[in-house]
Symmetry: C2
């Protein structure tokens, strides 16, 4: 038999096999529940948790809500057009850093010497790469310095003048320390003796899931009003204020940083999912309401499935959430 | 019936009840296995993990072993006479800091500018109190500054000149930056170009369980030879290089600090016990050999039950272990 004939016979048999399936009885039409549409991307942001007075002037409240909405819009547009979660995190945090309403970048609180010392961190859930800076004084956007540490050094955390110097070396915009001065934060420092320390917080944080399924998280802060010179909080501490791992979730925290370090809050949420089998919602609730104490603060988190958790145990938390399903919300209190 | 008579009757009845138990059949003598004697206290120390050359001169090896034995003796004597684990941790680390053999305190490595920047942290497993300093340059014993932060501030971590200033304020011994100069470490910096960075490590750490059942952990280091100015490693990061929680264990790590931060190594061991139900030995093995990569370093850990784990994935780890059962051993390689 020639190879040509073999080939023709093979094709005919193959066609017969394909075109003549066994006739099967028509299945009874049972309407199946539609699977929920997959969440393609999601993002959550916070602008700090703490004692937020519900009787604040309408104009102040509107200003916060508009800032959060602007940030959420920016993040959503990056994710919607397929941008990486890491870019969404960095760019939204830069926007919030430049906004004097929040205690990060411009608008940072003063330490007890009347200086601004800024902390930030960022983490890539795809490969656990992370970077952070602590105590910078001349970097306009600390979150970008954190990203620089992650991508351009073999280190994870740079602190103090060495971190400022590094940011200049990689070409980030430098500012005079006075850039961070705002009347409101200066007056807060002066009034500190009349109020419990650290009850005014405005740390910012962003967590995001992109269309590729990659998670990222970032946090940026001026710390606590009246903090000691040199005090480093949880925001630049990977595992405490920030964590991201594609296998579980991305988390950013805000509140009494010392408690977030002590309990390794951001990493704990991931660990409870990974080791304890909890859902994101359960893990977030447990960490915020059982591990932490009332008043300590809160977290925003996004899971690998696009679920979003925003939990806090303080009187309020500036926050917002958006996803590919059309969710788009900004809240301050319950 | 007078109250006196009542009393007498009561006493007689009580005596009868006490003195006349039901005669029981003699039990058949089944020899039961002796329960293992409870470990009353335990301690483990490390002096760094990394590429430790087994062909080092006999005199060098003996010097390391003697230093580790001296440290172990000191810790054991504190714990044996009922001292708190926190004191054992601090005092043993001070001894190792003062010993130029180790990369902590005197003997710290140089950063790329030829300066010494020291990091340390300490944690109390009884209440999760913790304190740390990063990048100090004039504190003779950084571990005591870390304890000062824990006990005398509302903060957890102080960095840079603010941490040096704090240590002076609380009366700790200050030294000129030149105190930390040693010929050996200076030569290591000069030779850095000929060798992979950070392959010489000597971070010190101590974990202890005391007779009260309290765990404590501490870590102190000069960091990596040739590190960037301002680089902060895992040693001052609670959850990364150090963790202690009476419910599970106390852990101190040594190695590539960035990996220890990324994976939250010290806290992960505790989380695997708490959330995953692993034993200390299993958790330590899993974190060191599965989470971390070969060459990253190692940990020493002591459990609430007095069990000790010393795991490493590098060519060696200077280490020692002692407990109330008479265990007393010092090792460098397998």
């Amino acid at each position: 038999m020639s190879s040509k004939l073999t080939f023709v016979l093979f094709v005919l048999l193959a066609l017969a096999g394909c075109s003549a399936p066994e006739p099967e009885p028509e299945p009874v039409a049972v309407p199946e529940p539609e699977p929920p549409p997959r969440i393609e991307y999601a993002l959550a942001i916070h602008g700090g948790a703490g004692v937020i007075d519900p009787s604040m002037p309408e104009s102040t409240r509107t200003a916060y809500e508009e800032s959060l909405e602007r940030a959420l819009h920016l993040g959503r547009s990056i994710l919607d057009r397929g941008g990486p979660s890491l870019d969404a995190v960095e760019r939204v945090i830069r926007l919030l850093e430049d906004d004097p309403l929040f205690n990060a970048g411009k608008g940072a609180v003063f330490n007890h010497l009347g200086e601004n010392e800024l902390d930030a961190s960022i983490m890539n859930g795809a490969n656990l790469a992370c970077g952070a800076v602590a105590g910078v004084r001349t970097v306009k956007n600390p979150i970008s310095a954190a990203r620089g540490v992650m991508e351009q050094t073999r280190h994870v955390l740079l602190g103090g003048p060495g971190a400022d110097e590094f940011a200049r070396e990689i070409g980030l915009e430098a500012v005079a320390p006075e850039y961070f001065y705002t009347v409101r934060r200066w007056e807060q420092l002066q009034k500190l003796r009349d109020r419990p320390p650290g009850d005014e917080r405005g740390t910012v944080g962003v967590v995001a899931l992109d269309r590729e399924g990659n998670l990222a998280a970032g946090t940026s802060t001026g710390g606590l009003t009246g903090k000691r010179y040199g005090r480093i909080g949880d925001s630049p501490i990977v595992g405490a204020g920030t964590y991201a791992d594609n296998r579980t979730c991305a988390v950013s925290g805000t509140g009494t940083g010392e408690e977030f370090i002590r309990h390794g809050v951001a990493r704990s949420v991931a660990a409870m999912m990974e080791l304890g089998g909890l859902t994101l919602a359960e893990a977030a609730r447990r960490v915020v309401h059982e591990t932490l104490s009332p008043g300590d603060g809160g977290i925003v988190a996004v899971g690998a499935d696009g679920s979003i958790a925003m939990e806090f145990n303080s009187r309020g938390m500036y926050r917002g959430a958006a996803d590919s399903q059309g969710r788009f919300e900004v809240k301050i209190w319950d």
